[in-house]
Each structure stands twice: as structure tokens, then as C-alpha cells.
């Protein structure tokens, strides 16, 4: 039995001296592994007499449990130490930059256009489109703007031929849709339009959103209600809105929609030319002549149409003072939005 005691003592000496997990594993296998010292002792049990075997075996098992318990304990302690060591030594410079990666930005015009579309879509409007190179008929004549009409001067037109123009507004989409679909209608038509004009507040190409609603009982009162909803949604709930009489050949009565100047809260400033108001949209009741030309019964249906310039809305939203910035496509500009 003495051999067992010295074995235990030797184990205790070794375990006291061990410094890491690897050493511990070696000790463990030297004593309790397949060919370990203690395992050999167990194998030798069969050669002993019954009485001796029982006592010896009991002791061997006690020592085995002891060794395994001690090793386990020691192992846990080493693992703790190891984690502590990693936490102390594995240090990165967290101020180094991350892997360079950035999302691209949407052009501010299209951001605002998306917002406008979302608002109208949420109010049940569908989206329609039409050609940008358009027949004079759809761009003008079907909108109650015959050739030689002085109102054609309101829009400087790019001509491809006598009968083909670059559309000067998105209104021709109204006519094209009315020719194809029967009422009721609730549509918007966003898109590019062109005018032969260029300065701080005009570019030869810009974006418009046209809207049209037609049904049996649509009134000017509805037009006011809808556009007020839109403006409050786009510019904020408390934005003052006013409608003032104007003229468009394709609507009658026609109106310009002004909002209280968002720069001076209506007190009067440079942007609103001291009037306290900013013009944001044109609108009106669809002229019965336009219905007639599109094949709708003007006695049966009424409707309203409205249109706005997306550049203008964007300039107001972000306080941009030069429209040409939108088309320079300078990344230092584009990345701000």
C-alpha cells in the first residue's frame, strides 16, 4: 500500500509544480491515462488475494477520484487564468478605422421625389408615366393651348420638329391617361420636363409631379383639402397655405398655391421677396375643354389637376439657393443629403 501513498505524494508534488494547462494534461495522462501509473495499479489488482484486493482496490479508487478531482480543480483554475491573460494581452487599437465601406446616396431631387410619391400613394394615387419627347398635340393642343395661343409664351419650348417638342410639363400624361382609362381617376405623373431657359432659378431640364383626380363629384373644395393635406405632410403640420387665383389654359378656375415663408415664418425676407409667402404649386379644376378632347363627358365628370416643381420643393427643403447645383453632380454636394 505504501507504493500508493508515495504515488499520491509524487502526484501532489507534481501538481504543485505545474504551471500551465499542457503540463496539467501530461500529469493527468501519466496517472490516469490508458497506460497511466494508477491504471497500471488497477490492472495489477487481479494478481492479489481477495482480502488484499478489496482494500488495495478501494484505496486505488480513492486516489483515482482524488487525482481526477484535483486535476479538474486545477484545470478550472488554469482556464480562469488563461482567460484573464487573453483579456489582458489581446488588445486592439479600437480607434483604427473600420473596413472602408459606405452606402451611396440618392440624388436630393429623387429623395424629394420619392417622398412626394409616397405621400400621394398613401392617399390612394396611382403612378403613371408618359414620353419626354412628346407630340405638340399632347403637350399643348389637347390641353387647350392651340397654336398661336399667347399662353404658349409661359413656357419656352424646345422643338424637335413643328409637331414634336420636349414636353414642357408633365400635364400631357393626364391626356394620355384619360384617353386610355375611364373615370374615376386618381393619378400622379412624375418626370423630367424641359424648357429653353437657364439661370440661377431655371435649368433647361427639371422635374415635375403632375396630379389628376376625376370623379362625378369633385370640387374645388376637395382640391383645397387634398393639397393642404399634402403640404402639411411635406412641409409640416403648421405650415400656412393659401390659394390665389391664377391662370392655366387647362384648368379653370385655376390657382397658385402659396405656403407661409419657411425661412422667415411669414414675416417677410429676401427669399419670399418680403411677401411672407412662397409659391409652391399650380392647380385648378380641369377645364371642360380638356375633358372633351380626351373623350370624357364634361357634364358627368369634374376633376382637378395640380403640378409642382421638384427642384423648387427640394431647394425649399434644404435651403439651396442655386438650382444649377443639382446638375453639376459634385460628390461633395450629393453626399450631403
Amino acid at each position: 500500500m505504501g507504493d500508493l501513498h508515495s504515488l499520491k505524494k509524487a502526484f501532489l508534488d507534481e501538481i504543485a509544480a505545474v504551471t500551465d494547462l499542457a503540463g496539467l494534461q501530461q500529469i493527468k495522462s501519466r496517472y490516469t491515462g490508458k497506460k497511466g501509473l494508477l491504471t497500471e495499479k488497477l490492472k495489477a489488482l487481479s494478481s492479489l488475494a481477495a482480502e488484499e484486493r478489496r482494500n488495495y482496490g478501494k484505496l486505488v479508487n480513492e486516489i483515482k477520484d482524488f487525482i481526477e478531482g484535483t486535476v479538474k480543480e486545477k484545470e478550472l483554475a488554469f482556464r480562469e487564468i488563461e482567460k484573464e491573460r487573453r483579456l489582458l494581452t489581446e488588445k486592439i487599437d479600437i480607434t483604427l478605422p473600420g473596413k472602408p465601406f459606405s452606402f451611396g446616396r440618392q440624388h436630393p431631387i429623387n429623395q424629394v421625389l420619392s417622398e412626394i410619391k409616397d405621400i400621394f400613394v398613401s392617399m390612394g394615387f396611382g403612378i403613371e408615366e408618359g414620353p419626354e419627347v412628346e407630340l405638340d398635340y399632347y403637350n399643348f393642343e389637347a390641353l387647350n393651348l392651340p397654336k398661336d395661343h399667347p399662353a404658349r409664351d409661359m413656357q419656352d419650348t424646345f422643338y424637335v420638329s413643328d409637331d414634336v417638342v420636349l414636353r414642357t410639363h408633365t400635364s400631357p400624361v393626364q391626356v394620355r391617361v384619360m384617353e386610355k382609362k375611364s373615370p374615376p381617376l386618381k393619378i400622379i405623373a412624375p418626370g423630367k420636363v424641359y424648357r429653353c431657359d437657364s439661370d440661377v432659378s431655371h435649368t433647361a431640364m427639371f422635374h415635375q409631379v403632375e396630379g389628376l383626380m376625376v370623379d362625378t363629384d369633385v370640387s374645388f373644395s376637395d382640391l383645397k383639402g387634398l393639397l393642404e393635406l399634402f403640404i402639411h405632410s411635406f412641409f409640416g403640420k403648421d405650415t400656412p397655405v393659401r390659394f390665389r387665383p391664377s391662370y392655366f389654359p387647362f384648368t379653370e378656375p385655376s390657382a397658385e398655391v402659396d405656403i407661409g415663408c419657411i425661412f422667415c415664418s411669414g414675416k417677410g425676407c429676401r427669399v419670399c421677396k418680403t411677401t411672407g409667402w412662397l409659391e409652391v404649386m399650380g392647380c385648378g379644376m380641369v377645364n371642360p375643354r380638356v375633358f372633351e378632347m380626351s373623350g370624357y363627358q364634361p357634364d358627368e365628370y369634374t376633376g382637378f389637376a395640380f403640378g409642382m416643381g421638384v427642384e423648387r420643393m427640394t431647394m425649399l427643403k434644404y435651403s439651396i439657393d442655386d438650382i444649377r447645383l443639382f446638375y453639376e453632380n459634385d460628390l461633395r454636394f450629393l453626399k450631403q443629403f
Binding site: F101, H107, V121, D148, F158
Partner: protein, 684 residues
């Protein structure tokens, strides 16, 4: 138009301040765009809409002021007292369809000098320069009453006759501005007995102009057809205060008053004797009567205005009305030529009643689908995917420069040479409609590079215009992009050829859109690097291209950059969108485990990865789930004319767990197959 507030007070006793008046006018449809104080007066800038030529003068504005404040209007009187001698110039109208009325008076024995100070001041405030007393009076009347007049030096007219007729062939005239103008045949002219002396309604001729030596004048006050004046003015490229008013429509009933008032003023200032009026009036003004129901007005406006109020409003703006029970008739005055239909009456009631008093109602309408249409949704998703890959959106003008296609060496006969040309471009560089987005994107790149930006990745989604012989060009939606990274030092080194960066973006985009199977084959676009470009084919149809810009083009761009590796792409979205798989059907997640095996092949460098992948994928086995390329290597330990490619094969069965032995057998056969097909060998 500039108008003087003090002048308005000649016709209406307005007590309100100019600011208040401006506000009330604006809210009644006459927008006052600006005001400026001039010598104790207020000069207002009025934006008169094209339908209201009656407001292109002081009297017209005064009439509106009177209406909005409910004040009486002091109408101008022009009564020439006593008997008058008959003038010796007769008037003939050869084109009554273009000249509905022509009146005139002779004033003899005048002395032309300067007009009085008060008149000059008023003219000046409204932006008209003083010339001489006679011309100033005609301009004064134009501003005050809106009726353009013209004074001829009667002694410089041949044959004692004024004839109104078209120019006919081969005629020209030197106008008051000293310019000799060739006249289009249909131009309406004022002739004397021999030749044209004025372009009717647009500008007088130099030959019959009034100057300091003039003693006798013939003063013209006429009505010309608006369309005819507009056409002539456009064709001649000549506009004047007169033509501006005539082409919008003048009041033919009122021209006599304007004529007489002018004659009186001239006599007061320049002396002389006023002669009898000559008045040829072939086409009499026909008053219109419009019937409107009260209900129609209120239902269209969404108001509840009572009968009396409607009629009161109309009478206030000089529209005569008659109640007929459920409806009423309205007869507008001659100066309101814009009022012809019931809707015009509704508008007049609405604007005078006040738009602000119309109640606000949220429209009751049938439910619409209220969703973005399918195409819109797909495009939004597509743009988002491109942005998430780091590309910034640009918007360019739809124009291109005729040289752009040459710069890209686009060959004759190419579809992109079938462009649409503008007749009146703003600049010659912008005279064509784009047939490709690439030139604009290259310009965006150059612009940003010149401003020191070293990382440029841009995309644009826009239409291009291709002349296909129809009345309108084809409009094709394109997605274009450009990518450039300067070789700058970076903390985390990652060297990936730009072509593959962009290819990765497009791969992700096609996957995101569920665009289905596609292939890339070498491209023959001349502006791309032949060795580094690809056409993208969907079901065998070319949807676009991707590639490095050719060194030829780079040289033309004169770029001073170290790494001229610029990658562009352009895709036809109409084609791409048509490939999108509309319906997604759920596929069961595999129940049984997979086993992966790799093949590392060393093959001839000329054999492309795509070809080998196609060979591998062509190997039929029910237990092969996927085959992907996961490694590409050239360099040490590989002969220079070879490359090493690593493929990962995933084996899986739908209905059982595969055994190692089973996979080993299939994989062994696959390896043997591919070695034979590629004449390659396994990497040691």
C-alpha cells in the same frame, strides 16, 4: 408690367394703402410681384396672366381695384366738342378677317416738341422712355387705356389713302428701330397709296415716322386679329408693347374712346386741329350671353354661395346678369373677351368671392390600389441595391454633344447614332438627345476628379432617346455607372481589380432583382478595353455591358492619373425588368446534411473560369447541390502559362444522409471527368 399707384387713383378713389391694395389684387388673381417707392409714388410690378389683356393698363387695374373694394370706377370720357372738318385720308381694309376695325383721325397744324413733365414722369415710372410729344401721347394712352395707337406723319403718306392688306411677295420695310426687315407673305401691313408704311400692330415704318418737322398727323386706332399678330411677331422675331397687347386681344368697342382721348391730349400739348373720325368697322363686336345654373357654380366650387351674392359679384365686374330661376344669364363686357363659357363665369365668381372662403374638404373618392405600380417598386429596389453597393446617384441633362459619340468612337450605323436633334438648343453642345448615358457619366467623373475627389462611384437611371423612324423616338430606360478608385494608401489593404468590384455589384444587383440566369461574354464595344470588358446576356439577349474604358479614350481625355482604371457599365432596364422573376415559391430547407469536397485544378491560363464552371455544372448527378469557384491563384509554384482554380462541390441528397463512400465515388468520377475535359492536373 409696371404700374403707378398714383395713376390708378385717377380712376378710383382708393383709400387703402398700396400694400393693402397689392394684397387684395393678388388674392383676386392679379399678382403683385414687387413694389418700389419712386418719388412718393408706389410702382407695382403686376404679373398679368395671358387671359387678362384687359388688365394690361392702368384703367384695367383700376377696374379691379374698384371691384375688390366695392368702389365706383371713374370711366374716362373723351368727347371732342364742336364741329370737325373731314380729313383727306380715306381707309380701305383689304383683309377684314385680320383687321376687324380701323379708325383714325387727322390732326393738322401741330408743333412737335417735348411732352410735359408729368407725362414723361408717368411714362418713365412704367418703363417707357420719352421720345416726342406725339409718340409720348400714344404711349401714354397705351399704358392708361391699353389700346395701342400709331401716329403717321400724314405728309409722308403717298396717295391720301391708308390700306390694310397683307405684305404679299418680296416686300420689305425699314421699321422705326432702323432695321430693314423682309416681310413674310402673310404679314398684315398698313399701306399708303404706294408701299407698306407700318407692320400692323407691331411697329411703324421709319419712312412715315413722326419727328420734330411733322406738321400733320394721321392717328391710327385699330383692332387686329390676335393670332395673326402673334404669328407675324414670331416670324419677324419682333415684339413691341403694341404687339404684346394685340396678340392677347384688345377691345374693339373701346378703340374710339382711346383715339379721341389721344387726339385731345395731342391738341392740348402740340396744338393743331382735330379732324373728323374715319371709322371702317367691317366686323362688329358680337356680345355673348352665357347661361349658368346656380347649382353648377356651387357644386363645382364646393360652396354654398346664394343667388344674390353671385349676381352681385358679377355686376361688380361689369358683367350684366339676369336671373332665370334655377339659372341666370351673364353678358360680359366687350373688354372681357376671355369670358365665353359657363366655366369662365364660375371662375369669375370664385376669384371675387375669395378662394380663401371656399371650405376645405377632404375628397371622398373610391378606393384606389394605393400602391406604387410594379415597375416603380422594382426600380426603387434596384436603385437601393446600387446605392447599398456604394454608388452615388447623379442626374444629368438628357442632352448630349454631337462630339460625344466621336469621342467614344461609336461607329457609323450604330443604334446610338440614331439620335433626336433639337431645332433650338440653348447651346450647340446640348443639341442632341442622349442615346447613351456613358458620355455624361464620364463628364461627371472628370468634374469630380478635377475637384480632388479620388473615389468616384456614380450611377444614373435615366431614359435615352433612339430615333426609330416613328413620329416619336423610342424612350429606353437605362442604368449607367462609372467607378474609379485612386491608388491611395489605405489602412486595410484590399487589392481587387476595379472590373471585379463592379462586376460584384452587378452580380448582387441581378440576384437582388431575381433577374435569373445570365452570362458574360467578351464585349466588342469600341470604347472599352478589349481584354477587360464584357457584354451581359440574359437569355441570349444583350442587356448591356461592363468594362474598363479603353486606353484610346483615356488618352483623349488627357487624364493625369496614376491608375487609369475606369470602369463603366450601362444596362437596358426595360430588358432587365422583363427578366425579373415575378413569383417566389418557397423551397424547403434541406433536411439532410451535406458533404463538401474541393477540387484544386491547375489549367491552361487561356481556359476561362466560366468555361470550367460550365463543364462542371454540366456533369449530371442527383447528389451535387452546388459548385462554386472559391479560389483563384497565379504565381509562385504555378507555371506562368497556367493558373490554379479551386472549386467547392456541395453534395447532398433530398431524402437521406449521404455516406462518405458514396460521395467519394461520385467526386472521384467528377475529378476524373474534369481533368480529362480540361487537360489539367490536380494541384500538388
Amino acid at each position: 408690367m409696371r404700374i403707378s399707384f398714383e395713376w390708378i387713383k385717377d380712376f378710383v378713389d382708393v383709400a387703402a394703402s398700396p400694400e393693402d391694395t397689392a394684397h387684395r389684387l393678388t388674392m383676386a388673381g392679379l399678382e403683385i410681384e414687387g413694389m418700389e417707392s419712386v418719388e412718393g409714388d408706389m410702382v407695382m410690378e403686376v404679373n398679368v396672366t395671358p387671359n387678362r389683356p384687359d388688365c394690361l393698363n392702368i384703367l384695367g387695374i383700376a377696374r379691379e381695384v374698384a371691384a375688390v373694394f366695392g368702389l365706383p370706377l371713374k370711366k374716362p370720357q373723351a368727347c371732342i366738342e364742336g364741329p370737325q372738318e373731314k380729313g383727306d385720308i380715306r381707309v380701305e381694309i383689304d383683309a377684314p378677317d385680320l383687321c376687324g376695325r380701323y379708325a383714325g383721325r387727322m390732326i393738322k397744324g401741330i408743333t412737335v416738341g417735348e411732352s410735359p413733365d408729368w407725362m414723361q414722369k408717368r411714362l418713365e415710372k412704367c418703363g417707357i422712355r420719352a421720345i416726342n410729344s406725339v409718340v409720348d401721347v400714344t404711349n401714354y394712352i397705351l399704358l392708361e387705356l391699353g389700346h395701342p395707337l400709331h401716329a403717321f406723319d400724314a405728309d409722308r403718306l403717298e396717295g391720301r389713302v391708308i390700306r390694310v392688306a397683307k405684305a404679299g411677295t418680296n416686300r420689305s420695310i425699314t421699321t422705326l428701330d432702323g432695321v430693314e426687315r423682309r416681310l413674310p407673305e402673310d404679314t398684315l401691313m398698313i399701306w399708303d397709296g404706294k408701299e407698306p408704311v407700318a407692320i400692323a400692330g407691331i411697329m411703324g415704318g421709319e419712312g412715315s415716322a413722326v419727328d420734330a418737322a411733322t406738321r400733320n398727323i394721321f392717328l391710327e386706332s385699330a383692332y387686329f386679329d390676335p393670332s395673326s399678330i402673334r404669328r407675324s411677331s414670331k416670324m419677324l422675331g419682333l415684339k413691341s408693347e403694341s404687339s404684346y397687347r394685340f396678340e392677347r386681344g384688345t377691345d374693339r368697342e373701346f378703340l374710339e374712346t382711346a383715339l379721341s382721348r389721344a387726339a385731345i391730349l395731342i391738341q392740348e400739348i402740340a396744338g393743331g386741329t382735330i379732324h373728323k373720325i374715319v371709322d371702317v368697322y367691317p366686323e362688329k363686336y358680337a356680345p355673348v350671353t352665357i347661361e349658368v345654373t346656380y347649382r353648377k357654380v356651387n357644386s363645382l366650387l364646393g360652396t354654398n354661395i346664394d343667388k344674390e351674392e353671385m349676381l352681385r359679384i358679377l355686376e361688380m365686374i361689369e358683367i350684366k346678369t339676369r336671373d332665370k330661376g334655377d339659372s341666370f344669364t351673364a353678358s360680359p363686357p366687350a373688354f372681357r373677351g376671355d369670358i365665353k363659357e359657363p366655366i369662365d363665369i364660375v371662375e369669375e365668381i370664385a376669384r371675387c368671392y375669395g378662394y380663401d372662403k371656399v371650405p376645405v374638404r377632404v375628397p371622398k373618392t373610391p378606393l384606389a390600389d394605393g400602391i406604387l405600380n410594379k415597375k416603380e417598386r422594382k426600380l426603387e429596389a434596384l436603385k437601393e441595391a446600387v446605392r447599398k453597393s456604394g454608388f452615388n446617384e447623379v442626374i444629368n441633362y438628357s442632352f448630349m454633344n454631337p462630339d460625344d459619340l466621336d469621342m467614344l468612337s461609336i461607329p457609323e450605323g450604330d443604334k446610338r447614332r440614331k439620335y433626336v436633334t433639337l431645332k433650338n438648343p440653348l447651346r450647340q453642345e446640348d443639341s442632341l438627345m442622349r442615346t447613351t448615358l456613358i458620355p455624361s457619366l464620364i463628364n461627371n467623373f472628370l468634374y469630380n476628379l478635377a475637384r480632388g475627389t479620388g473615389e468616384i462611384s456614380l450611377y444614373e437611371l435615366s431614359r435615352v432617346f433612339l430615333d426609330e423612324g416613328g413620329p416619336l423616338p423610342g424612350e429606353e430606360l437605362r442604368l449607367g455607372g462609372i467607378y474609379f478608385r485612386e491608388n491611395t494608401s489605405a489602412v486595410w489593404h484590399e487589392q481587387i481589380p476595379s472590373f471585379f468590384v463592379v462586376k460584384g455589384v452587378l452580380q448582387a444587383l441581378f440576384a437582388e432583382m431575381k433577374a435569373g440566369e445570365y452570362s458574360m461574354v467578351p464585349s466588342d464595344e469600341v470604347f472599352l478595353h478589349h481584354g477587360k470588358s464584357a457584354d451581359i446576356l440574359f437569355k441570349g439577349r444583350k442587356a448591356g455591358f461592363i468594362g474598363e474604358v479603353s486606353p484610346h479614350i483615356i488618352e483623349r481625355l488627357n487624364l493625369k492619373i496614376k491608375k487609369p482604371e475606369i470602369v463603366v457599365f450601362e444596362l437596358s432596364l426595360d430588358l432587365l425588368l422583363s427578366m425579373v422573376q415575378e413569383k417566389t415559391v418557397y423551397a424547403q430547407i434541406p433536411k439532410y446534411p451535406s458533404i463538401e469536397r474541393d477540387i484544386a485544378l491547375v489549367v491552361d491560363d487561356r481556359l476561362t473560369a466560366g468555361e470550367i464552371l460550365n463543364l462542371l455544372r454540366g456533369y449530371a448527378s442527383p447528389v451535387i447541390e452546388s459548385i462554386e469557384l472559391f479560389d483563384y491563384y497565379k504565381g509562385k509554384n504555378i507555371p506562368p502559362d497556367k493558373k490554379s482554380l479551386g472549386f467547392r462541390i456541395v453534395y447532398r441528397s433530398k431524402d437521406r444522409t449521404l455516406t462518405d463512400n458514396e460521395v467519394e465515388a461520385v467526386h472521384g468520377a467528377l475529378v476524373e471527368y474534369i481533368l480529362k475535359k480540361t487537360s489539367g492536373e490536380l494541384r500538388g
